[in-house]
Symmetry: C2
Subunit: 413 residues, 2 copies
């Protein structure tokens, strides 16, 4: 650890690799492919496979850090009266959803219906779908999902949509659970205030819908830099949702759910009146984007959670001074900024702008690199990176402990 | 068509929708999912399914435009003595590779070994792998691929790698075909000149390798705006590769392959001495990035090829003036710039910055939109967009004619 009490971002890059090998300079020779790893996992024969011996690019989750993140969230929320309902869009992985539920989360969110269907088909029952289903086919499928699964809840943000859901629920012979999505900003949801109240009242009168409460998510608030600024702006922007929720409550409408927030505001939203749960996603992985926003105790680095998600990549070219080429480009890391951080190398600027290749520029390296060496990268933005891979490797002390299929990968529908 | 002989980018946006329905304001009700479409295709029961009746986001290829692009490439290259060897990384789809070969292309390129393996396993034999295999496991797999497939050729850019390939070929009991990858810029390949010649000579002496020639790809040249600038810079940057190639030829080394270039330089590289084939990729789809670079006959719009690849998306929110939310965000379109273009709407600015949602800002719309309406988008950059989808829909006159599985999707290893 650094002697200074504050961990700066640059130091973080180094310390986050401490205790783990940040670079593999030796040449592991098996280079197990995804297919081979799946087969070995199915046959319970993973013992001893090193993360440095995976075919690259390989998506890895450090289990010690991941589990620490689960505990941190649980411990921080304990005593606030606010629960967690983590967003499945972050990991798209039923295996992780199960670990979150086992760690005390009250359910899982899903962004898209096809994603919710995958979670439901793989043992997750408590699903709140945060996007409205607006097409006739999606509405029918949502009702089929609700019919099989009494814990499925879906968002609604239009009166017409509420009537369509009611008709479809009637046709399916069920009463469907819905939450009113109250807008913050202009992306999704019904405007707070009168329109939201009117929608909630409409839902309450429709015989085949059951109003369960409110969701209100502020996408723009999550990455506001600096805790104080984030705190003030988040609560300010959330005020209209709180007021709407309280009006609903006073009207005697069901307000058992008031869900919102994300990883950037997990310790802010509990300060708002009435909030029942936070829809945290990235807390399990902690990507570069979130590290940079700063936390309550460290304004430079949001270090409440540990960066557990990495991509292992192979060096392909070292001919050109001050430059290294790797096999992980935009298809392995996305174009999100900041670019990936190379664990153990403070001075590396990694550009994942090529589809197939990563390009590192540097003035000074901690060591010299050869073609075939492996580097480990903290990912820029976890959600879309996970969506590039069919599976993640769950790693404990550099060994693969499990293979987690990303079963909802590509389910953007 | 426009009365003016030059088609501007803004007009292009409108005319590219002409003849096709650009927007679906009616509500198709089936919303066929990917699974349903695959099953219908397998049972030969696709007749009549409209592209507007697909679950969204849906990745579509307009077959008339796609086939026109195949013909344009063939006709333009005819008489130049230069062939095409299209890059499979663009489409990751054996069905498309077969159509390219049927249209006269002499082979397919692959960027990664796992991609090449998928093509080989699905009926494509003429594969040139443009990235070197540097890990022991990948080298073994590449030799296994070569052993099954005498048309498989792989790149080499280091003397050590050449020796490793030779050893592995020997162990596999084969003579493996290789091309020397000559660098342009600093991303991949051996520096042009003496180092490249020495490598070619080494390959020539190694008993289990057969030198087939040279590849030399200039990633940076493809998107240089303005044809004249692109022409001059491309040929200037390519000169060292040409010189290297000619020295190899004079030395009596095998130079039957001299492959390079891409869609942006498909009509430039044939002007360089000795080039045998161009590694075009995007010409079949023609994304926003390529449209913007300008062509030889129209400096504003690169309209040699037609934009055939689109994403159909559904409008989810219309509450907020001057703003529409759709269901296609970064996981459906990537973050590449320029943002997607909405066919038929000149004044729409589409931001795919949210993982799950697209946000359109506009001052003036050609029509008014309701929740549930569908829009069709030209994609920002085709390669990584295709990599988000398990299948593409091949469309003829707005009807689905085939379902094309993106079998090498996610094969970034």
């Amino acid at each position: 650890m650094q002697p200074s009490s504050k961990v700066t971002r640059r130091n973080f890059l180094v310390t986050s690799g401490a205790g783990a090998t940040a670079v593999c300079l030796s040449r592991k020779t098996n280079g197990y492919t995804g297919t081979e790893m799946s087969a070995m996992a199915a046959a319970d024969k993973l013992t001893g496979v090193s993360k440095w011996d995976l075919d690259t690019p390989a998506l890895c989750v450090d289990l010690d850090k991941f589990e620490q993140n689960l505990r941190t969230l649980r411990n921080t929320l304990a005593g606030t009266g606010v629960a967690s309902r983590p967003h499945g869009k972050t990991h798209k992985c039923p295996a992780i959803a199960k670990l979150q539920l086992a760690s005390g989360s009250i359910g899982i969110c899903a962004a898209k219906l096809s994603e919710a269907e995958v979670f439901a088909a793989n043992g997750i029952d408590k699903i709140l779908m945060t996007t409205s289903n607006v097409s006739p086919a999606k509405i029918r499928r949502a009702m089929a999902l609700r019919k099989k699964n009494r814990h499925f809840i879906q968002a609604v943000d239009y009166p017409k949509n509420a009537r369509d859901l009611n008709d479809a629920a009637k046709e399916a012979g069920i009463v469907a659970d819905v939450v009113v999505d109250v807008a913050i900003g202009t992306r999704s949801g019904v405007p707070a205030g009168d329109q939201a109240i009117a929608l909630a009242e409409l839902v309450d009168t429709l015989p085949h819908l059951e109003l369960r409460g409110v969701i209100s998510y502020d996408g723009g608030a999550q990455h506001i830099k600096g805790f104080k600024t984030r705190l003030e702006q988040t609560l300010g922007r959330f005020a209209a949702s709180v007021e709407t929720f309280e009006r609903m409550k006073r009207s005697g409408l069901n307000t058992e759910i008031f869900s919102g927030g994300g990883t950037g505001t997990y310790n802010i939203l509990p300060k708002a009146a009435g909030v029942t749960d936070v829809q945290v996603g990235s807390y399990i992985f902690m990507d570069c984007q979130y590290v940079e926003i700063g936390g309550e105790s460290n304004d430079e680095v949001f270090d409440d959670f540990a960066s557990s998600l990495t991509v292992v990549t192979t060096v392909l070219n070292t001919y050109f001074p001050g430059s290294l080429t790797t096999d992980a480009g935009a298809k392995a890391l996305t174009l999100n900024k900041p670019g990936p951080w190379v664990i153990g190398e403070k001075g590396f600027a990694y550009n994942a702008g090529s589809d197939e290749f990563g390009v590192i520029r540097y003035e000074k390296a901690e060591r010299s690199y050869q073609v075939g060496d492996k580097l480990e990268l903290v990912v820029p933005h976890c959600d879309p990176v996970v969506n590039e891979y069919d599976q993640m490797y769950a790693i404990r002390k550099d060994r693969v402990e499990s293979v987690w299929p990303v079963l909802a990968r590509g389910r953007s529908q």
